[in-house]
Symmetry: C2
Subunit: 193 residues, 2 copies
């Protein structure tokens, strides 16, 4: 979020963008340094000039990912001040990944791979969840939708359920299933309507 808008992207930026797309489709384990280098028209060894290791690159990717997510959610709040409307639109941020070649949230994928993640990557993955849950809690509290005590629990539940819907829709390569699942959550009362 603190990039120079009028400057062309640096080599490191281009690596981060390409690596993010690969990791959303194939995970940390499936992020292949040689294939990534091929995408960028350089050799695998060159990547190590910009990032000291695959762990270092993946941590930078995950950090950028949650920072972008945090900025998107903040912008959401500004353009859509009504809490109920904010919550109604929240699942759209997850829908966008599926629209992009059936990809999923980088951090959902990496959460599955938790055992194999370097600690530096784990910390950034956890940050993504925290940012999302904290945002949801603020909106729920602002809307006085449940007791203040229950706002944290409800926020976690919405995050987990939307993540699960995204994953299930990927397994069917069917974005309409995602929409159906979100509608079911609303009908059941999980997402205050």
């Amino acid at each position: 979020m603190k990039n120079q808008p009028s400057t062309s992207p640096s080599s490191s930026d281009k690596i981060l963008v390409a690596a993010t797309r690969i990791a959303q489709a194939h995970g940390f384990g499936g992020l292949n340094m040689r294939a990534l280098a091929d995408d960028l028209g350089i050799k695998a060894a060159s990547l190590y000039y910009h990032f000291s290791s695959k762990a270092d690159l993946a941590a930078a990717v995950a950090r950028l990912y949650w920072e972008d997510s945090a900025a998107t959610l903040e912008a959401f709040l500004i353009e859509t001040p009504a809490p109920a409307e904010c919550l109604r639109r929240y699942p759209n941020t997850f829908r966008k990944s599926l629209e992009s070649d059936n990809r999923i949230c980088l951090c959902s994928f990496m959460t599955a791979e938790y055992d194999d993640l370097p600690e530096g990557v784990r910390a950034e993955v956890r940050a993504f969840t925290e940012v999302n849950v904290a945002w949801l809690k603020r909106v729920i509290v602002a809307g006085a939708m449940v007791g203040a005590q229950d706002a944290e629990n409800r926020a976690q539940a919405i995050f987990a359920a939307v993540s699960g819907a995204q994953l299930m829709a990927r397994g069917r390569s069917d974005i309409t299933l995602f929409d159906t699942l979100i509608d079911s959550y609303r009908a059941a009362g999980l997402i205050p309507a």
Copy 2:
């Protein structure tokens, strides 16, 4: 489910059991043929006597996994005929994976890896979801919990949400978070109580 109870497990059975545990922790990509062979005290090349490829082994693992799941759910219905009680206990089947060294559902992990899965494995992963959704739908219809029209949607929603809760709990290595999330689903009305 059609194994000979009084016979000692065959080499193939032992491979399947060990491979299942690895795949629940590391996924299809993280299922390392040499490490698996080491676990079993044989050489990697020997695995190819029993299974023609890693894809073939993973498909057999996923098939056994949903067959066992189907059998467990059927046994559930027999010992617990009350639909509401069945639904209340359903999340326990997912809790057990977390109890086993923070592992998750084999098929949730493989769903994340969908792009990299051989077609034979994909088919078995889809079967797991279908078995679970079909069981949930039967129970929901038997309990007359929602309109018959909505039973399918509700069954899918419960499966997606419980899967998401399992994944989120793994990312925190905190099984009590799983319990909290399931309670929140009940409080919100997603799981009929």
